[in-house]
């Protein structure tokens, strides 16, 4: 039976649709013209200007501080949560599960406003701290989700085997459980890290003066017209994210069977 060519054509067109704007962005970042109407020649001046931009530099620092701290917090909490969800089947875990899945389902803007209301109510000053807390909250859900997925294919007789061969709980944890789970934990951590880098809406609500992250900075620049600079920034930002994603893809694919 001859297969229809329609799915192939559709997929190709959709890939063009997905990549066209990104390619335009790449090209624009090297275009000497301020807007995309004409090609005035190749330039690196936007990149040069970018590295001299105070706001961008501060925002980059903030972004990294937030992403690293939130990733650490959410990886520890998310991994513990995944283990608890996997290991126990009590009523408490049902509540636990609903709480874990909540942040995955709720739209960003609801999470942003609800956290803002909480911080205002408790008179917590908005700043890097509130951004970190917000990012850890959705980050831990994603980590738990990824690690739980890995745990579901984990062979529990391996833990029995380790104990049977004389290993106590601690040795089993370090020699068997963590070595086998770490690709999943690392992939979860990378996901939390990229999502933290990426988040705009929630950060926009809970960031205070001086705690802008890069996406918030980009938003400001988009509103107050410096498009050529954003092109260059986007290209750098995107390259960094793609690097992380490729690394996590590699980790997730690493399996022993």
């Amino acid at each position: 039976m001859k297969r229809s060519r329609f799915p192939f054509v559709a997929t190709t067109l959709i890939l063009v649709f997905l990549y066209l704007p990104i390619l335009v962005l790449f090209a624009q970042s090297f275009n000497d013209a301020r807007f995309g109407g004409s090609w005035n020649g190749f330039t690196l001046k936007w990149y040069k200007l970018l590295f001299e931009h105070r706001g961008v530099i501060t925002a980059t620092e903030n972004t990294l501080i937030v992403a690293v701290t939130a990733t650490l917090l959410s990886t520890v909490l998310g991994t513990l949560a995944a283990w608890a969800l996997h290991r126990f089947q009590s009523r408490m875990q049902k509540v636990h599960q609903v709480l874990i899945y909540g942040p995955l389902v709720v739209p960003d803007i609801l999470m942003g406003i609800s956290l803002l209301l909480l911080f205002v109510n408790l008179s917590v000053p908005l700043g890097l701290g509130t951004v970190i807390v917000a990012h850890s909250t959705f980050g831990l859900s994603y980590v738990a989700f990824v690690v739980l997925g890995r745990l579901q294919e984990f062979d529990h007789s391996l833990l029995d085997a380790a104990r049977d061969l004389g290993a106590g709980s601690w040795t089993t944890l370090w020699r068997v459980l963590l070595p086998l789970l770490w690709p999943g934990i690392a992939a979860g951590a990378l996901l939390a890290f990229t999502l933290s880098l990426d988040d705009f809406v929630i950060t926009f609500f809970v960031a205070g003066p001086g705690s802008s992250t890069l996406p918030v900075q980009v938003y400001g620049m988009m509103k107050h017209g410096q498009p050529a600079l954003i092109n260059a920034l986007s290209v750098l930002f995107m390259s960094a994210t793609f690097g992380i994603v490729l690394a996590s893809q590699f980790l997730l694919r690493k399996r022993y069977d």
Binding site: D160, A161, R163, D164, G166, L180, Y256
Partner: protein, 379 residues
């Protein structure tokens, strides 16, 4: 002298469901003991109790006379070969085998020497650096055995170790297990649902059903003198003949008024009285099937007319289902030269079924439900 290893009055329940009831069993040093039974009979639970993964609800586990019931698995000198091998996927064959020694903080030279010996034993020395995923099923199985044996356990537990292998490989691994046992001499407690595996490997067998240990004995004892209809039907195949004792012939024989076969002579291996309800088990290969009425001695053997209902040629033997009166009987006949036999028995033929009085065995316990375990023509 206390038994080498002992289950003393073990009982266990999950929630309110009892899975093991009142099991008493002693193992001798160096023997291969098999627990056989259908899935869900409690044999794996018993094995996990021996390993220490389960704390029995009642009773005690003793090793060399010492109570180890409360010892966790990592403190017992007992190791397990797991059903799906449970090899550590992130460690090489060498490191898998070395795991127990490293945990026990053995010196580097000791580890290298001991693992090397094990690799020789299982004949996988050239695969030492491979990861488990690169091995075949049979090789994984051997690594799993070596990983357990390297710790020189007092008792080796094997949980359905061959279940994941195909038939040919299973037969080879049985020989391999036998050889390994001969070399190391460790006591094996072997759990399987496959009675042929248990028969070919074990010094003794324990048959389990519904959480109870029904009968313990050598393979021949279990096969030749099953105590209950379950054991008779689960180990091998058989026929049940039910009836009432009509009269006692002498101290060795009595006449049974069978429900379908009429009066037959039965070997009297247990005391019976006239009027007792009795069930006799007769293995299919004990019968002989002939076209003409044989000249038999009615005192020591039986002969009944029958009709052939089904013939299945199996190569080394032929299986028949014959009907005599209302009873369907399974018969197996060996044949030396099938094609040269003038006219082999065929479907619909009338024939004579003959067996000796002492070919049957009286059962202590009979349950009609166990008839479901027998091979039937449409299986």
């Amino acid at each position: 002298m206390p038994a080498f290893f002992e289950f003393r009055d073990i009982g266990h329940q999950f929630g309110k469901t009892p899975v093991v009831e009142k099991v008493n069993l002693s193992l001798n040093r160096g023997e291969v003991f098999s627990l056989v039974g259908p899935s869900g009979c409690g044999k794996t639970t018993l094995l996990r109790i021996a390993a220490g993964f389960i704390q029995p609800t009642r009773g005690a586990v003793l090793l060399d006379g010492e109570d180890i019931t409360a010892l966790p698995p990592d403190k017992r000198k007992i190791n397990t070969v797991f059903q799906n091998y449970a090899l550590f996927p992130h460690l090489s064959v060498f490191e898998n085998i070395a795991f127990g020694l490293r945990v026990a903080k053995k010196s580097k030279t000791d580890v290298t020497r001991a693992v090397g010996e094990m690799l020789e034993l299982i004949d996988l020395a050239e695969h030492a650096r491979k990861k488990p995923a690169q091995l075949s099923g049979g090789q994984k199985q051997r690594v799993a055995i070596a990983r357990a044996l390297v710790n020189q356990p007092d008792l080796l537990l094997l949980d359905e170790p061959l279940a994941a292998l195909d038939l040919k490989l299973r037969q080879r691994m049985l020989l391999e297990l036998d050889r390994i046992h001969e070399e190391v001499g460790t006591t094996f407690l072997y759990v399987t649902h496959d009675q042929t595996e248990a028969m070919s490997l074990s010094d003794r067998i324990g048959v389990m059903h519904q959480g109870k240990l029904l009968q313990v004995g050598t393979p021949a004892e279990i096969y030749e003198s099953p105590e209950s209809s379950f054991v008779a039907a689960f180990i091998g195949d058989t026929n049940f003949v039910v009836g009432k004792v009509r009269r006692i012939v002498d101290e060795n024989r009595f006449v049974l008024e069978a429900e379908c076969l009429g009066e037959i002579v039965v070997w009297r291996d247990k005391p019976v009285a006239v009027g007792d309800q009795v069930t006799v088990s007769i293995r299919p290969e004990k019968f002989s099937l002939q076209k003409t009425r044989p000249a038999t001695n009615g005192e020591t053997s039986n002969s009944v007319p029958c009709k052939i209902e089904e013939v299945i040629y199996l190569g080394p033997q032929t299986r028949y289902w014959v009907r005599s009166a209302d009873q369907l009987i399974s018969v197996i006949q060996q044949h030396a030269n099938y094609l040269l036999d003038e006219t082999p028995l065929a479907w619909g033929d009338e024939a004579w079924l003959t067996w000796r009085a002492n070919d049957g065995f009286m059962l202590n316990a009979y349950r009609e439900a166990d008839e479901a375990l027998l091979t039937l023509p449409d299986d």
